[in-house]
Symmetry: C2
Subunit: 890 residues, 2 copies
């Protein structure tokens, strides 16, 4: 939730920044204004690296564009024309000139890299006149007309909104007609014909003539870049990657250089290190006689970068020097794009390279060793959420495996699931809680929602830098790319692998680390965490102030969390134990009781079971604090609801079915979230918490008798008033004291509460009189503060995010401006009464990096999250502490 | 919700206060320490009014008693014995002495009068020896033994916890055996026998001997008074009357005087003015040869006080002087108890008399005229909630009426309902929303819950000061008492009136103002408000700062509220209009729509209907502001849920039943209170608010065209964030602007929001940027802040009030310490952004006097409540302003 961006009027301000010819108006620090791409082009140009000259229209124009009814302001047009004239001077060409035409590319460039999200136009400036000029200047008619037909394809799709497949069909038709297998077989005559055919189709389909005026083309392309900032797919990417809507995009207009001018031309993308493993080895791909889009789109499968040395040794040497210079300059792994035009190397882009978590850790450690960066910088380099990747299982090497085929190891991790062939199907399967693998010939930005839904992605075309590979790595999903042995038939919903047919729903397993695809489900092993991980975690632990506990309800979870570095349990939910099949009927008998005596009889049966639960959890967490929350959910959640189940239960617990039915009906509530639950259960049925307190105390007594030391923390949920907690604290203390007397052992223990209602937060000073600790239950606190039921929010939360009312789902990342205010107030008031009050948080937000940063600044003592999020929380807590020290604003 | 009382240790402090013989340790200002009764006994004694000597054990001992494990501290016993010795000196009698025994009464006396709530013991000190002494001193054996048997009855019931009816049966048995009709026919021998029989029964029933030691009797009785402070019925009374638990009760021990020593003795209760009408005329009842309890319990029907002049002229004259002196001294109507023992008048009690609202207004006005009190005092004298009584309908004099019988006009107001014979049945009927009349031979404190549930109360015995009459007046319920023509048969669940049988469920109508009982339902007329009411309201209006608006959804409600002085509408709920049978199917078609277009078609049909609604309401409120809340409830509330209704609806709106069924199912929510409702509806379906805004604007335009002026206030509900309001404010403004253009008229209007979510309150500074006004929706704000669903709270709210966790139901009186904090914060933050922000409240709390006092102190501009609560709010607002000026703490 954020307020409107401050509306900057750019009039009179610098909005167009030139670069090229070893100079630049901007530099790498100006990403906010120039976008990542523009800032780096300027920086590279200043560094003397060969960059095709051009200019960047600043991000500020993006907001102005939207405020100006999605039209380019006149002043921006003027500045653009001036800059274009400068570029013409450098290149000694004229935009729109029929003799020596300047062609440009128009690309987006946001502050944060958004691969594949924004639309790009190449070869802009071509028309029936200039194409003839290009033909002559390049002495390559085929190249000229191929450029023109590519330009029409891109422009008609991106700017004019035409369905791209229409022209694709025309192209394929001509190929069929001529009996060609590849596009490269087209002659210049074919291409001229195609251009005319394309223009006809454009007119038919859009009702508009394809623009011949290069300036009209330019304004159209620039506007299209700004418009693409707000396409649904761009919005989806921003949401997934926490990019504020207000940032906007810049537009880069740059002289074209061509990798498709013949066999002395090439284009490629590369990383200064291996982005999957982090290995310090130049890594990338190129295509001879191709434009950049051919590499990224994965239409032709490119060669490995090392091969460039053989093909174009001079350019390769120059490229190696440049990539080294760039990494040393930026002190981080770079992701670069280059084009070789008739033997001359041009750098088109450099940016910080996306990498797997494994690679991020290795690169950080190696740069730390080289003293290129310090510890804090190393820690800040690793996005905490990506650590999740390392904790995913890998294939068990001993498992039975039937290898089907092998593709490129595009994104690590093992994944099994039913194969599906469309993103819509992937979402369907996800909804039905069935794991699936999305199989596509290649993916496009339209597939992002399917990739989010799938366990893993398998493509038959494209390389390590294809859309599928880049996006999957960003998501931490397993991906095998370019698996050419697979033939996908979308119409039949099936794929053929070496003659064998696999239908939709058949299960396969991917190993994204090796590129292997297996038949059926393959056994997996827990992730083993390498030395880089351990080193970074240790460094993080040394720097963080927040403690990190875990939410665990079983000894197994507790053990797992300890392995990941949890320093105790922040939330042990006792109700999960109630659902155990062995005891659920006893629980139900307790619920069906009509008197306190009956209830106590059932509770007596539950007592030894709960005692054992607690004993084992205390044991697993030996030496670390364990916070046990007493029963919280409404009793209705424990009883059966269908007629058949009610009959069966009545039989089993020897009750009249009518009585069971009535009781079940009476337990139903209009708003169970705000109903008879939490400590309200114990105000009406004190014997429930009495039993649970006794089970905790008896388990503790047993451990103390065995020589262990421990300080159990008993947590009362859903407290709204001081008096509630006073009544239940007394009940708890009386019970524990009684047990200590019976068992003749002493141990310390704490009694505290969850702060999960707004009333508790605003009266925390009163409640703190009765509490040894607070734990913010931010799930419920979010529900009550914003007045949104998590179960029902689906119906409108989408519209809310689309309207920008919520920047992020407030159940995923804490609503700092609202719920966060109450958290801060609760901490402040609580500590006013009790300076030593321990304060933690145990909602889902405890594992969310942005929320953790907030909790650090709010002065909490610890966060508690699920076992698999513990490493993330440790790193996020360290980053929060470092940023806090550095004075970064929250 | 309050914290524990501060624990005062009384050791070394004065805890026993003497009075009598024209002197006293205490006075009338010491009600906190001595209780009302004790303070007034002391005051009367100091005034030289004849009061039987005695002493008061202070209220501070009450808490000490509970802290001391419900035992009397030793120091208190010592002080009591010293005081008793003083009383012995004054009376020249000895407590426990067999020759000239001192007998005492032991009574409770809390700070606020609690009639019938606390237990009383008379004739304490009697045993087998002292009864003989009494026999001789009084020369009346019958009186002595009658006193003894009464003492045993009371003591065994109140102190020893024995079921009172057991002794009653023994007494009735003896009456039958002897063939007596009245208790007065018992001889002294009969009574001696009865005493022995009683003692045997006490031993049988309780397992304990009836105590012979007068001191044991005394300590037992004092403890019983303290214990009775915490009986369920005392708690119920405190809850109904807002009496804090911490106050405690004092104990009054006083020499006995006897109104039952023969025909020169009498006892009575009286008011210095008529408590029903307020007429300045001495008013009361007495019984010759009776104890006070006989009058209060209503077992014998007493004579009117004027008759006393004939029977005992000297005592009457003295009584007239005393009552005049008392009223002049206290400057308020007094409720007095007296006893005449062998021709000598003793005053037993004086206290401020309970009165009807009508009487309260008349008394306040008349005392104001006499300059006995000032305007502010006059306003403070009237409990605002009682004004409700005046607004209740009376019987239409022209209506067809079949008079059944006539009793005493015990509490004004007309009431119709089905007759029921137990309080449990009354509650049952209330639950089923069926109006009922509780018919009892006589009522007791055990019947309070039934009296709360019933529309009116009808008793066959007892007078104007009987339990039924006093309690009904306090509650503002219609009551006809002492209706001797009715014979109630509890066993057959029926009553016979002059030979005609009426079964449970038959309908009767009461006129509490005349004492008449009618057959069936009788037409009623709206209350006509007298000059005193108008005068007090005018004085209140001159003093209050808070505006008073009304919650009204129809022109009729609006008109009614205007009559009661509402200064506008604070909440007009548009959804109520949607339920109109003529339009509900259109609403449902709108809800069932699958596209925005379909929805718009249905909304277009609703537009003229809503426009008419608004036009008429604006018209009714001409010249006053009208706040219209746009659609708020979840759509699920408008659709049918049973299979039959779904089928029928599908038919009517020409839809597939399956589609209707699916849509209905999809609309269901887990927690509708926190679901898709309020402004969330308009974020997803903007066309709904668009239609409503249009209807408002078109109605306003029509009125403006007709020459009226108005400023409609459009209110957006359930706003949580600034952006939500910004989006919807824009939608509203665009629509209104469009209408103004179409109709070519201009008018001002406001757009504001409800503050009903904690997030809205804590971000009120942000929200105020988009709001012209705030209206606190304290119903929903209470639900979300405390996390309690009003619909589900029934299951535990009782336990909460019993535990003292909530002093009052937070949905009735605002939770000042929690919800109130958010209200104050919201006002403060909102005004920080917009100093001119209008701030009101439109929850149920807008009609609750305690809440109104709080809203005054929070600086709100107005409260809005239901039409019938408007006068209450006006008076409460004036009292708040006066108390605020006087520096009374809130």
């Amino acid at each position: 939730m954020q307020t409107n961006p401050s509306k900057t009027k750019t009039k009179g301000q610098k909005v167009v920044y030139l670069f090229g010819d070893g100079k630049a108006d901007g530099n790498a620090t100006m990403k906010g204004v120039l976008g990542g791409k523009g800032a780096n082009l300027a920086e590279m140009s200043s560094l003397g690296i060969p960059v095709p000259p051009g200019f960047t229209i600043s991000t500020e124009v993006c907001s102005e564009f939207y405020e100006n009814n999605q039209k380019l302001p006149e002043s921006v047009r003027e500045h653009t024309l001036k800059a274009l004239a400068e570029v013409e001077k450098i290149m000694d060409k004229k935009f729109g000139n029929a003799v020596n035409p300047l062609l440009v590319s128009v690309r987006s460039g946001a502050r944060a890299s958004m691969p594949g999200m924004m639309d790009t136009i190449l070869n802009l400036g071509l028309n029936e006149q200039t194409v003839v000029g290009l033909e002559k200047v390049s002495r390559n008619p085929r190249f000229a007309w191929d450029s023109y037909r590519r330009f029409i394809q891109m422009y008609s799709n991106v700017v004019m909104g035409m369905n791209g497949s229409l022209l694709e069909v025309a192209l394929e038709d001509l190929k069929d007609e001529k009996g060609y297998k590849n596009d490269t077989e087209f002659t210049d005559e074919d291409l001229q014909k195609l251009v005319q055919e394309f223009k006809k189709q454009v007119l038919n389909s859009t009702g508009k003539k394809f623009p011949e005026d290069p300036f009209e083309q330019l304004w159209g392309a620039i506007s299209a870049v700004f418009l693409s900032w707000n396409t649904p797919r761009a919005k989806t990417y921003r949401q997934l990657n926490d990019i504020p809507e207000a940032w906007g995009t810049a537009v880069n207009v740059q002289s074209m250089v061509f990798g498709n001018m013949g066999d002395d031309s090439a284009t490629g993308v590369a990383f200064t290190r291996n982005p999957s493993t982090g290995e310090n080895k130049f890594y990338g791909e190129f295509l001879v006689n191709a434009q950049g889009e051919d590499v990224v789109a994965g239409i032709r499968t490119p060669q490995e970068i090392v091969n460039l040395e053989k093909v174009m040794p001079v350019s390769f040497k120059q490229l190696m020097e440049i990539q080294k210079k760039l990494e040393e300059h930026y002190k981080d792994m770079q992701d670069i794009e280059f084009t070789i035009e008739k033997g001359r190397l041009w750098m088109l882009q450099t940016r910080t390279g996306k990498r797997t978590a494994k690679a991020a850790l290795r690169i950080a450690c190696e740069m730390l060793d080289k003293k290129a960066i310090g510890v804090e910088e190393a820690l800040l380099r690793i996005p905490p959420a990506t650590l999740d990747q390392l904790l995913h299982p890998t294939l068990d090497p001993k498992a039975n495996k039937k290898l089907l085929c092998k593709g490129l190891p595009a994104s690590p991790g093992a994944a099994s699931g039913a194969i599906v062939f469309t993103s819509e199907e992937a979402e369907e399967y996800k909804k039905n809680a069935t794991k699936c693998i999305l199989v596509r010939i290649e993916t496009s930005p339209e597939d992002i929602h399917g990739m989010v839904a799938a366990e893993g992605i398998l493509t038959t075309r494209g390389g390590m830098t294809s859309h599928a590979a880049v996006v999957a790595r960003g998501m931490g999903k397993s991906c095998v790319a370019g698996c050419g042995d697979i033939d996908v038939d979308y119409n039949k919903d099936q794929m053929t692998v070496n003659g064998r047919v696999f239908k939709k729903g058949d299960v396969v397993t991917l190993d994204g680390g090796t590129g292997e695809v297996f038949e059926g489900t393959v056994q997996t092993l827990d992730a083993s965490l390498d030395e880089n991980f351990k080193r970074i975690m240790k460094l993080a632990d040394e720097r963080r102030h927040l403690g990190v506990r875990t939410n665990a309800d079983t000894p197994a979870d507790a053990k797992k969390a300890r392995e990941y570095g949890a320093e105790g349990i922040g939330l042990c939910r006792t109700e999960h134990m109630f659902f155990d099949p062995d005891r659920i009927d006893v629980v139900r008998r307790m619920i069906m009781s009509e008197s306190s005596t009956e209830r106590k009889t059932a509770l007596k049966e539950l007592l030894p079971m709960q005692r054992k639960d607690f004993y084992e959890i205390f044991k697993a967490m030996k030496g670390y604090p364990v916070t046990i929350r007493l029963l919280d959910p409404p009793l209705h959640e424990f009883v059966p609801h269908s007629e058949v189940e009610i009959q069966a239960l009545a039989d089993r617990i020897h009750m009249e079915p009518d009585k069971v039915r009535t009781r079940v009906r009476n337990l139903a509530e209009s708003n169970p979230m705000l109903g008879h639950r939490g400590c309200r259960l114990a105000i009406t049925f004190p014997e429930i918490y009495e039993m649970q307190s006794r089970a905790i105390a008896e388990a503790a007594a047993q451990l103390v008798a065995e020589g262990d030391t421990l300080v159990p923390e008993i947590m009362i949920p859903l407290v709204a008033t001081q008096k509630e907690l006073a009544v239940l604290r007394k009940l708890t203390e009386d019970t524990v004291r009684q047990v200590q007397k019976e068992k003749n052992v002493k141990f310390d223990y704490l009694v505290g509460t969850m702060i999960e209602l707004p009333r508790a937060a605003v009266t925390a000073d009163e409640i703190a009189h009765e509490a040894d600790f607070f734990s913010f239950g931010t799930n419920d606190l979010t529900q009550t503060t914003i007045g949104i039921s998590r179960d029902d929010a689906g119906r409108f939360l989408g519209a809310y995010v689309n309207h920008g009312i919520f920047e992020k789902d407030p159940f995923v990342s804490i609503d700092q401006g609202g719920v966060g205010k109450l958290v801060k107030l609760g901490v402040e008031l609580g500590r006013k009464t009790n300076q030593k009050l321990k304060v933690g948080i145990c909602g889902e937000h405890g594992g969310d990096p942005a929320s953790i940063e907030f909790f650090h600044s709010a002065g909490l003592d610890y966060v508690s999250c699920s076992p698999y999020r513990v490493p993330i929380a440790r790193l996020a807590a360290a980053q929060a502490a470092i940023k806090g020290k550095q004075g970064v604003r929250h």
